[in-house]
Amino acid sequence: MSRDPVPPTQELHMERRIQSHPILSSHGPERVRFFFGEQEVHGRPGEAISSALYANGITVFGRHHKDGAAQGIYCVNGQCSQCLVLADGRPVKSCMVPVREGLRVTPVDGAPPLPAEDSPASFSDTWAQRAQVLIIGGGPAGICAAEELGRAGADVLLVDDKDELGGKLSLQTHPFFGSVRACHAGTRGIDLATILARDLPALPNVRVWLGATAVGVYRDGLVGIVQHGRYLLVRPQMLLVAAGAREKSLYFPGCDLPGVYGAGAFQTLVNRDLVRAADRLFVIGGGNVGLIAGYHALQAGIRVVGLVEALPKVGGYKVHLDKLRRLGVPVWTSHTALRVEGVERAERITIAGVDEGFSPIPGTERSFEVDSVLIAVGLAPVNELAAKARQLGIPTFEAGDAAEIAEASAAIFSGRIAGRRMAARLGLGGAVPPAWSTTAEVLRSRPGDELPFIAKDPGLSVYPLIRCVQEIPCNPCTDVCPVGSISIADGSITSQPTFAGRCLGCGRCVAICPGLAINLVVQDYDPARELAALVLPWELDDRTFGRPGDVVSTVDMEGLPVGEGRVLAVREREDQDRRRLLLLEVPWEDRLDVAGFTVPIAGGEALDGVAPPGEEDPIVCRCERVRRSEIVAAIREGIRDINVLKAVARPTMGGCGGKTCGELVMRIFREEGVDLDEVTPGTVRPLVAEVPAGVLAGLAPGEGEEQ
């Protein structure tokens, strides 16, 4: 097989950068020059190699040593091992290592060679450090736990594998739900980390290590941590795992093509690094992550061709669904992705309707041209270190998504509660206020029932329509109304807010609603009552969409077409926190129905005919390139012990250690009719991430290595 190290289809063009974004400020003009193979490319100082490569249009980072398959990004979170490259000759996960001036990045073509660095080595000793509490993960839960423990006087070490605190908050351009008082609802995720962490520096007994990955918990009670090329051992008296969640995976033919990757990976590229990662996106999965990722794409000016959800109803908040549908993105429920195909990267997706048993319905297939497909089929707790620590007898707590998948608002409380509990266990006093547990419970609650929405004209000259019809924990609208006209009857934050009384038309409720579910109707706009004006929340780039004078196709709250409207004005104010309020003129009779309008970058025509199938046996284990048929064959041979399956077919044996395919393998057992009680789980051992031997050995960093 003759192969090019860089496929010829991979044209290098600079500046796949997001130049204009409604929420995020563009990065500075600084550039570093580095090399990909022989090509000179540029990146932003400090950004991950993977992001810099994507920003240069490079999506194929190497070729798998087993079959030469093109490899690219997948998780962009240090969890999988798909994005391996050689950085100055050394194998690294490109999503975890920053670019720097002059860096030589080489695509990994097959198994990476070991560079012939044969000069004698010298080592420096490391001693185990002590900490009363080691917190793994500096997202909302870890930060809040550290603060509670710190205030109680505990000696705390907080470690996080990224270079800033906040975890996945840095990807969340949208305002959070929840309660204003308890968890800063209405604040954007990107701003929340700073707010949450602002008190940590004042606590001298809380140490924070950034860029520090916990890689193993050992029999002797020590935790191994890798930070910037150093290996450190910490002996905690107690451990809190607040490491968040990783994205669940999915297999289908073509799932392993570059361009098919996690929704969180996409958000990282787009929102953290402002890389225009795609031009035509498709989303698989209608949970909050998938819905929000689709919305984030539109914010970045990226076309969203569509979204499929296998269940009859999306699992995410209805307000997120409606936001997407109103902009014109088709959301197909009871649909599945049959396959993605293309040469060296995703080029087409074929979807189909599914029956009640989730089997595709023949004749319903449709294909679309895409360049990227996001997998957004849920999150799984990152809890393997907690499980091991507990097994080894280390007092261990979990908080945030590592304990239970929920919103960031819930993670804040979960962290605070864990912090207080641990402080109490350490004899530092402090109890969990009973109200906290109740609040945490509420914030964790799943979206509830949907009530029908009937828009009513109260006969006022101006009034809000609150299209919040699903029980979710959220109340900012009730806090901002200057005349107190919006309230939640039963006082619980999950029930629906209602409007009664006066409306000043100030638009604060429109500006604050995290779900973008409130608009104003201005009925005295046209005394003749032929026209009305609406005040709509707008979070797309108003330099491109929704400019004054634009005639737009209006839709109702769920995205069904209504008619036409005309944008009259855009209001942008400091207190609206980067949200624009649009004044839209609509026919009088449409005023109660119109809740938004479509944009031309939503949806896409289906291709004529259905794209022909290619290799139909999907890759399940990406690291070891194990196909579904190989796992099925082993199961049918009678294998019921994952350890034996690993030995025979090698799933979970790769760099990620089964973090990506472990659940998929169990699903195949179920599909084969095997009772999972009969299946012996695989043994979990350190390390949870690969570490260079030189780092473990305490090798003094050599020339050219990151200092």
Partner: protein, 387 residues
């Protein structure tokens, strides 16, 4: 329940090949394994090195047989057990070690081992990047090899099954039935199984199984840690053993090789025995073993370490296995105390013990048989030159 001709206790490094060979001889064989699948005890903790390079003639003989079996496995059974030729090297930096190793060559060769002393240049070719300063050369035994223990367990199972062997998992033996001085069968939570012959091939649990008939089997588990890297381009053919004790005072020797998957697999022998059945990795292992490896082959600094584990060496007091019939009852056999070399000796021991059970004699020279006897003096004071 219908009877068997032989029951093998333990589906590990020794029990599996023993059952396979007993089945090949036409016996009705039942293997009883306490764990959920074959090779899930200490077998899978082996790093997969198979060498006939020993100082002890018994081991040389048994491992030569193992090597031949693994080498021809694929052509005979159509299943790849991850066999990778490449030999073993023992690089030498100290005069005393050169004398010791050179001194063994005659005995080793007399037992059919293909081994020679190679000079420093040849050693540096065999181990690219090896530290040249002070390198005196070393021994090279090209017919030694590496095999995947994970695949070998499956290979044994398949051949055993095709030989008519029955295997039961999650089925620990709770008693050995004896009547009139003869073995009659075993008890398990699933009931009783009858057979006139029972083989104790219980590895790290050999002592406990021995106790079922009141026999004191002098086997004590001692734990060793090991690790494996991410795959890399093939650069190292032989498995490398550095017999120098480590300057850190914790390692007696260490060894590593690149397996067929391209992964470096590595281990050290602790300076002092670590008795017990603990199989959880310690924080000490990785810093110690990586320093030793990088000191010997500096380019290994960039190898990505993927996973570590810890397995048990079923040790006898003199470091040599017991392959013999038990003094009583009649029909009870022992193939235990492999001292951490069960994987490499397994096929040879399995074949030998099958012969003992069927023909009444080990197919080995008398001096070798004597070394493997149950009633030998375990404390005669002889130590093995090459462990």
């Amino acid at each position: 329940m219908s009877g068997y001709d032989a029951i093998v206790i333990g589906a590990g490094s020794v029990g599996l090949p023993a059952a396979m060979f007993l089945g090949e001889r036409g016996l009705r064989v039942l293997v009883l394994e306490a764990l959920a699948a074959p090779g899930q005890g200490q077998h899978k903790s082996a790093i997969g090195g198979v060498r006939a390079t020993h100082s002890d003639p018994a081991k040389i003989r048994l491992c030569r047989d193992s090597l031949e079996l693994f080498r021809t496995w694929k052509e005979r059974h159509g299943f790849d057990v991850g066999y990778k030729p490449g030999g073993y090297v023992f690089p030498v930096y100290e005069r005393a070690h050169e004398q010791t190793l050179r001194g063994l060559l005659a005995t080793q060769k007399s037992h059919g081992l293909h081994i020679d002393w190679v000079d420093a240049d040849s050693m540096a070719e065999l181990v690219p990047g090896i530290q040249r300063e002070g390198l005196r050369g070393g021994t090279y035994s090209p017919n030694d090899a590496q095999v995947s223990p994970l695949l070998a367990a499956e290979g044994y199972r398949r051949v055993a099954v095709s030989n008519g062997v029955k295997l039961r998992y999650r089925c620990p033996v709770t008693g050995i039935r004896v009547a009139g001085g003869k073995v009659r069968g075993v008890d398990t939570p699933e009931g009783r199984f009858d057979a006139p012959m029972v083989l104790n091939a219980a590895g790290a649990k050999a002592r406990q199984v021995g106790a079922l008939t009141g026999l004191v089997v002098p086997v004590t588990p001692d734990s060793h840690e090991a690790g494996i890297s991410a795959p890399m381009e093939r650069f190292l053919d032989p498995l490398v053993v550095d017999i120098r004790p480590g300057p850190e005072g914790k390692t007696a020797n260490f060894y590593f090789g690149q397996n067929k998957e391209g992964q470096i697999i590595f281990c050290y022998t602790p300076a002092a025995l670590i008795e017990g059945e603990d199989r959880e990795s310690t924080s000490e292992f990785l810093p110690v073993v990586t320093r030793r490896m990088i000191a010997l082959v500096p380019r290994l600094r960039n190898m990505l370490v993927r996973r570590v584990w810890r397995g048990l060496y079923p040790m006898t007091p003199d470091g040599v296995a017991i392959v013999d019939r038990a003094p009583e009852p009649e029909g009870l056999f022992l193939a235990v105390g492999m001292c951490g070399q069960g994987f490499m000796m397994g096929p040879g021991v399995g074949r030998a013990v099958a012969a003992l059970m069927v023909e009444g004699e080990l197919p080995l020279p008398p001096e070798v048989v004597a070394m493997l006897r149950f009633d030998r003096d375990f404390f005669a004071g002889k130590t093995e030159a090459l462990k």
